[in-house]
Amino acid sequence: MRETKYWTWHMAAGVVIFLLLGLHMLVMHLGGWTHLFAPFGGEAVSRDNSLFRDGKLFFTATYILLLGVALYHGLYGLRTILFELTLKPAAEKAVTFILLVGGLGLFGLGTWAAIVVHAAAAAARG
């Protein structure tokens, strides 16, 4: 039943990503056009626009949420594909371990960066 648990959350994560990454894509790809969360004009991903979003708690919080959820969804999906190659049990264990450690490491890195930049941007704005 453990795999049922993982897969249930894999699907639930997919729905969360659909919403959050959909918003992310609209902001990043269409922000230069719509100026949605990109008040400084030019490209949505310019340094000023990035810092504007980083200073907002909503974005920092959703970045961290999206980071965790997407890492789970993506790495579990990769694990699924790898497990369908008839690996030896030891290799399956190794894959799980590597993806878990790698995923947690990237989650830690991304979360740290989001918080540091949020603090700096919020402080700069006063």
Partner: protein, 281 residues
């Protein structure tokens, strides 16, 4: 009416041959078969065996899509040789191979044991807590037509293995349970007489269980009996998820032992003869 004895055209059969005692790997041998109207691929193989090459091996029994012995790969598509007419699928060329995703025993004979072992692991029978009632029934389990229809479609499976041959997951994952065993599990899970779902969930919800199905849909397309294994697996997954989230309606096995007649036999039926076998406990 068409003359069924008249040859319509010659069709070249490209048949996979493999003799485990002499061949390192399968190879393809070509035979020319004069095809009459209404001739099935199975008839064509019989023609080859009787007239061209007596060493060709394949498995068949009923010749009418009931036994599930003659599943083969015809023009790249897994199906039954007995209910496929040559003229429906071939102009002049026809490739005939053994079902993929199984070991080849010889020529067109696949080893279906891997499928049957997975099937067995899913307890494909009515499992009940009240074993005494199963061994020594006091009456009948009453089931409504609607309750029957919830699983009837999945009972038509003839275990031919065509779905297993079509499944992309099984192409790489030897341990994946596969469409046929999983739809059999769903057939019993849906049966109101059955208590075995928690036991089956342990297997169907495992790492190589139902969640390795990604709905490529080939099993349902290949099934020669319209069993629609892909549908069974999606319903199975739904129930697994609901069971995990504890959202499933609590399903108790059917306790009602008598039908509309409340267990009273009609008067004109003679008494049953005495039992000759005592079921072991």
């Amino acid at each position: 009416m068409a003359d069924s004895n008249k040859t319509v055209r010659d069709v070249k059969f490209h048949v996979t041959r493999y003799n485990p005692e002499t061949d390192a790997a399968p190879y393809v041998k070509t035979y020319t078969v004069p095809v009459r109207e209404g001739m099935t691929v199975l008839d064509g193989l019989h023609y080859i065996k009787e007239n061209l090459d007596g060493s060709l091996a394949w498995r068949f029994s009923c010749r009418m899509g009931i036994c599930g012995s003659c599943g083969m790969l015809l023009n790249g598509r897994p199906t039954l040789a007995c209910n496929t007419q040559i003229l429906h699928i071939a102009e002049t060329q026809l490739t005939v191979g053994p079902l993929p995703n199984f070991d080849i025993i010889r020529d067109l004979v696949p080893d279906l044991m891997s499928m049957f072992e997975k099937h067995r692991s899913l307890k494909p029978y009515v499992v009940r807590a009240d074993e005494a009632e199963v061994n020594d029934p006091a009456g009948e389990f009453y089931q409504t037509p609607e309750q029957l229809e919830a699983y009837l479609q999945f009972t038509y499976c003839i275990k031919c293995g065509c779905c297993m041959a079509a499944c992309p997951t099984l192409a790489t994952d030897a341990r994946y349970l596969g469409p046929m065993p999983l739809s059999a599990a769903q057939r019993y899970n849906q049966d109101t007489r059955d208590d075995g779902r928690p036991q089956r969930n342990q297997v169907t919800g495992s790492a190589h269980g139902a969640f390795r199905c990604h709905y490529a849909g080939e099993c349902s397309r290949a099934c020669p009996k319209g069993v629609d294994p892909a549908k069974a697996i999606q319903h199975l997954k739904r129930r697994l998820v609901l069971d995990y989230l504890r959202l499933a309606r609590r399903k108790k096995a059917c306790q009602k032992l008598h039908g509309p007649g409340q267990g009273q036999p009609p008067g004109n039926i003679p008494a049953a003869p005495p039992k000759t076998v005592t079921p072991s406990a």
